[in-house]
């Protein structure tokens, strides 16, 4: 699944949000979109997800224009996207209604296991922690076997320890299933830990300011000088001295 943004412009009323976005994402690539708050990251993700039509330009996926949401490409919200009236199993099987019973069962079991929710199959979201709900939402997305995942600050609401664990889990899943991933964040460290490439956006109206390839193999050592150099170059790019 190759994703191509061509010349995307977007405005809400008189607010210009996106300014000529051109970007190619390769099949199986993990791309982080990094930018200041309010610059238009979510808007960009909503456009590629098919929920918002861009004012100008188009997104093509494997040469097919995006005209609306599609089960081959699943959007993951912060953990608030899980359905509170369904238990863990029912949430995971939400998108499986076209599959035969046996296959549904197999996928439920597989993804309950994969995201570590064994023993909680019949728990409702309000009985789960924030991190568990987030994993549940990822499982619900993966269960329909999409080619692409869109994640909009998926770990933003989690505490820092859970967030680190979730990143590790996501990388493990990505390495196992090789989905194409577009991951929006405003956390520089997060982007350097996860991505093959970091797309740095400017202030609104957002342009692509720079694309930084992260050529460090996983698992990444956070004290590796190469990691630190890349991280600091992005800090510099955004105009922040790496000091508090």
């Amino acid at each position: 699944m190759k994703v191509r943004f061509s010349n995307i412009n977007h405005h809400f009323g008189s607010t210009r949000v996106l300014d000529r976005i051109d970007l190619d994402v390769k099949e199986g690539e993990f791309v982080c979109i990094l930018g200041p708050s309010g610059c238009g990251k979510s808007t960009l993700l909503n456009i590629v997800g098919g929920f918002v039509k861009p004012s100008e330009g188009e997104v093509r996926i494997d040469d097919e224009p995006v005209t609306g949401p599609d089960p081959r490409r699943i959007f993951v919200f912060q953990e608030r996207g899980v359905f509170p009236w369904l238990d863990v199993e029912q949430n995971i099987s939400f998108g499986l209604f076209k599959l035969p019973e046996g296959e549904q069962r197999r996928r439920i079991d597989h993804y309950v296991q994969m995201v570590g929710l064994k023993g909680f199959e019949h728990a409702y979201p309000r009985e789960l922690s924030g991190g568990m709900k987030q994993r549940l939402e990822v499982a619900r997305a993966l269960a329909v076997n999409p080619d692409v995942l869109y994640l909009d600050e998926p770990f933003g609401a989690l505490d820092s320890i859970t967030r680190l664990q979730m990143r590790r889990e996501l990388l493990r899943i990505w390495e196992a299933e090789r989905k194409t991933i577009l991951f929006v964040t405003h956390d520089i460290e997060e982007s350097v830990q996860l991505a093959d490439r970091v797309v740095v956006m400017s202030q609104r109206p957002a342009r692509i300011q720079k694309i930084v390839p992260i050529d460090i193999p996983h698992p990444r050592d956070l004290s590796d000088p190469r990691y630190i150099a890349l991280r600091d170059s992005i800090f510099g790019e955004i105009g922040l001295a790496h000091q508090v």
Partner: protein
């Protein structure tokens, strides 16, 4: 301990109140307000003649029809108005204007339209429960978190599937509260409607007992029955709410 608190305490309170009532009747020497024993006797007497059961049956039947019609019409209509905001904006002023009019204000019109028949109170109950249900469904749909809808569409649901699998469960808790509130109002309106528009039912029992022979034992008995049956329904609704939340 818990079940003792839940069941024994209310029973105890009721017993104390009945005792106080009894004492008050004796102490004041009133010959209008009946004692608890007189009320019980009057009610048992009515129950024996099976008149009581047919009154209760008539009252419940009217509520079932009026309230049932409001549920069948109001909830789908409310969902529709919430789903299509333009339609909602069009109709909302009318709803908001009609809503504050007490259903009882419709009584003269209801009697002219439907005469002294079952239809008049059923119509009033229908009106009384329609607006709370309509508004609960409409507001419910409007307040479904957008990401639930987005997720539903993302997984390829058609609009009817989205309604059934996302919108309806999302608004259900609110809807149940609306159903309970609407029922409470319907029950209030029933009694008033039965005092004017028909010649059976619990409301009629009260007004008839006074008019035909100043039977205040039956007036108070009717009031108590209305309270007890209303409470029983309310408890049922609360159970349903709790079940829906706990599922």
């Amino acid at each position: 301990m818990k079940s003792v608190e839940r069941y024994l305490l209310p029973v105890l309170t009721a017993m104390v109140l009945i005792a106080l009532w009894h004492l008050a009747v004796i102490a004041t020497g009133t010959n209008i307000f009946p004692s608890p024993a007189a009320v019980a006797k009057g009610i048992f007497h009515l129950a024996e003649k099976s008149l009581l059961w047919s009154y209760i049956g008539d009252s419940i039947m009217r509520v079932v029809f009026g309230y049932g019609a409001a549920v069948i019409l109001g909830i789908p209509l409310g969902i529709l108005l919430g789903w299509y905001p333009a339609l909602g904006r069009l109709v909302n002023p009318v709803i908001q204007m009609l809503r504050p009019i007490s259903p009882l204000a419709w009584m003269p019109l209801a009697v002219i339209w439907f005469g002294v028949s079952n239809v008049a109170p059923i119509f009033l109950i229908f009106l009384a429960s329609l607006f709370p249900l309509l508004v609960a469904a409409m507001d419910g749909v409007r307040n479904v978190p957008p990401m639930f809808l987005q997720a539903g569409r993302n997984f390829g649901l058609s609009v009817p599937q989205l309604m059934r699998r996302v919108v309806f469960p999302a608004i259900l808790p609110r809807l149940l509260v609306g159903l309970r509130i609407a029922f409470g109002i319907a029950w209030l309106v029933l009694v008033a409607a039965e005092m004017i528009a028909v010649d059976s039912g619990l409301g009629y029992l009260i007004i008839d007992s006074r008019n035909a022979g100043k039977r205040y034992d039956l007036v108070v008995g009717g009031m108590l029955l209305i309270g007890i049956i209303g409470l029983a329904f309310d408890t049922m609704f609360r159970r349903a709410e709790r079940l829906a939340r706990a599922e």
